[in-house]
């Protein structure tokens, strides 16, 4: 091929640019990790890049001993597991129902869904509603409003519409109802789209800080604050250092600890704790991501 020399130059260029971009994407994360594993006093001197200079686990020790962080972590795990499970089941079942052309009222239902993509009442009417429903300072405010995800529904629906009818027909002949077909056939042939949408939904729950920030207030609300909301409070204030007193068994121990940690190092350790579970999971589901994005649903 006569243009092969150009091509090699171009491919080298592409590799170079993508490498630089990758380093830029990775650096802030590795830097935060290094800071979280480095001695707080040594960090003050600066110059930590991606490797701890004076390695220590003390920052993590303090973070794990903080009862508020433990509690917020449990809230996050609970809402992520429960919230994603309920949301995916409801949304996928709805999508399956709507993928059937003979569904009565299909156009009406779809219309109701599409309108919500155009218009939403907005923040304040939503807040007023939650207040009226008694969902403020209530764990279910994380779950209920997020159950039906119209975007996910459309992705599911267009995927289900692409499943060959013959797969279902034989089951139908055997007298299976739609629930049996959904759980025994549809889910199995749609695993890639389920995998990516479960992950995206779970990440949405795991990373949400806003619901915790506006629907939770006072002492009662503090107990229900998820990790990201608490982390945001930690980043914006000194509450980590103030709380050292609560976890240190004695005044002497507290003095020893507070001399060895700092707001910055504790913040970094908390950030790592709050993000590592997701960072460790998503690479394994990466090959399914393309199935979970809008592209298949674009209507010709």
């Amino acid at each position: 091929m006569k243009s092969s020399k150009d091509d090699i130059v171009f491919e080298t260029f592409a590799v170079l640019v993508v490498t630089i971009l990758s380093i830029m994407m990775l650096y802030p994360f590795l830097n935060a990790m290094a800071l979280s594993l480095n001695d707080a006093n040594d960090t003050l001197a600066g110059g930590i890049s991606i490797w701890p200079r004076v390695p220590t686990l003390l920052n993590y020790e303090v973070v794990f001993q903080n009862p508020r962080i433990g509690n917020a972590y449990l809230i996050t795990i609970a809402r992520t597991l429960f919230g994603s499970f309920v949301s995916i089941i409801f949304t996928a079942l709805m999508a399956y129902g709507l993928s059937k052309e003979h569904l009565r009222g299909r156009k009406f239902y779809m219309g109701l869904c599409v309108v919500t993509m155009y218009f939403s009442g907005g923040l304040i009417p939503t807040y007023i509603l939650m207040k009226a429903l008694g969902l403020t300072n209530n764990f279910f405010v994380y779950i209920l409003p997020a159950i039906v995800n119209v975007w996910n529904m459309i992705i599911f629906k267009s995927f289900f519409e692409g499943i060959p009818k013959s797969l279902e027909e034989s089951a139908q002949m055997d007298g299976a109802n739609h629930y049996q077909i959904f759980f025994s056939i549809i889910i199995h042939v749609s695993l890639p789209v389920f995998a990516s949408l479960i992950l995206f939904t779970a990440v949405g729950h795991w990373n949400d800080w806003f619901a915790g920030a506006i629907f939770m207030a006072g002492r009662e609300g503090d107990k229900l604050v998820p990790m990201q909301t608490l982390l945001n409070q930690i980043i914006n204030s000194n509450i980590m250092m103030e709380q050292l007193g609560a976890i240190a068994p004695s005044a002497a121990e507290m003095a020893r600890m507070s001399a060895k940690v700092s707001t910055k190092s504790l913040t970094m350790a908390t950030m790592m704790v709050a993000t590592l579970p997701i960072v460790m999971v998503y690479p394994f589901l990466q090959k399914y991501f393309a199935k979970g994005v809008m592209i298949g649903s674009i209507k010709e």
Binding site: V18, L21, L123, I124, P125, D208, M271, A274, V279
Partner: protein, 317 residues
């Protein structure tokens, strides 16, 4: 095809009682949608009231367009609209094309393992919450010993450290950079998927004709993914009044970094601030500002989706 159409016409719509299972899959979700999406839509009447939480919609007094007049006539309106449009335009210029460029570059790389690893790495920021992204950039851009300040110092570009989060000038560049950083990798998935569905014989033919790789991108790849680009472009344009929320709020410490307010406040963060961050919350005024934004967005989105269908024959819904 024709016989299928005829067949459809002759089959009567099945009776409700024969599809209770299907209906029961859909109806619960529709009810949830009604409560959590439609009830707030009616809740926008708060914008026309002096809404008090303890009085509710029925007990609060109606005041007509008072809050709209206050919003449009107030001194906040112009700077907020300016920031909203300006940030949206900057995002359109820098954040929107970034994933397309990355997808085109990744597509040119034949070394599979490299491609997979760099994809994993560039997807990473998408999975970090804005809380964490803000925390990381606060650290990297810190005045004392922040990496960027140290780097600039060692290169002799600055004599004293830049206070990135106290100087309004830096806010928009930081906002745009973090957005590119966070969304570039994951956004490329859509375009990579579109590229992978291009007929490979097109490239073979191009190679026969002696087109080099850059020309192949220009004459084959780009035109093939143009419909997708146009759809996303039109929809991005339609959401021009949504300049950002989490990113702006978290990079300004929920608006408490007052130095940055003049350069960072957009409609959505303004609504949040007047309703939740003031001594006396002003729900109705915030709802009026929010309703203004939502109304304009509906019209733009509707036009946008229509335009996309006209231009490319495809649309999102």
């Amino acid at each position: 095809m024709e016989t299928q159409e005829k067949l459809k016409l002759t089959i009567r719509p099945p009776r409700l009682s024969t599809q209770l299972d299907l209906q029961s899959m859909v109806i619960p979700s529709i009810l949830l949608l009604f409560v959590f999406a439609y009830v707030p839509m009616f809740g926008v009447i708060a914008a026309f009231q002096d809404f008090k939480l303890e009085k509710g919609y029925l007990g609060s007094e109606f005041v007509g367009l008072k809050h709209f007049a206050a919003f449009f006539g107030g001194r906040d309106f112009i700077p907020i609209m300016w920031n909203t449009l300006w940030i949206s335009i900057l995002k359109l210029i820098f954040v929107f094309p970034a994933p397309i460029i990355l997808a085109l570059l990744l597509n040119e790389i034949r070394f599979r393992l490299f491609k997979r690893v760099t994809q994993t790495v560039t997807y990473l920021p998408n999975f970090l919450s804005w809380v964490i992204v803000a925390g990381m950039f606060f650290s990297i851009l810190a005045v004392d010993n922040g990496d960027i300040n140290q780097l600039l110092k060692s290169m002799g570009l600055i004599s004293k450290p830049i206070n990135f989060f106290s100087e309004p000038f830096w806010f928009k560049p930081i906002l745009i950079f973090t957005n590119v950083w966070k969304t570039m990798g994951f956004g490329s998935i859509v375009y990579l998927a579109a590229i992978s569905s291009i007929d490979p014989t097109l490239y073979e033919a191009a190679q026969m004709d002696g087109l080099n790789r850059i020309k192949q991108i220009w004459y084959i790849t780009l035109p093939s993914i143009l419909p997708i680009i146009v759809i996303f472009l039109v929809l991005t344009l339609a959401s021009i009044l949504t300049a950002g929320f989490d990113d702006i709020l978290l990079l300004t410490k929920q608006g408490t970094n007052i130095v940055l307010r003049g350069t960072s406040e957009v409609i959505d963060t303004y609504v949040y601030r007047v309703a939740f961050r003031q001594q006396i919350p002003n729900f109705s005024y915030g709802a009026a500002a929010g309703l203004f934004k939502a109304s304009v967005s509906v019209i733009l989105l509707w036009l946008g989706n229509r335009t996309a269908r006209k231009l490319t024959g495809a649309a999102l819904w």
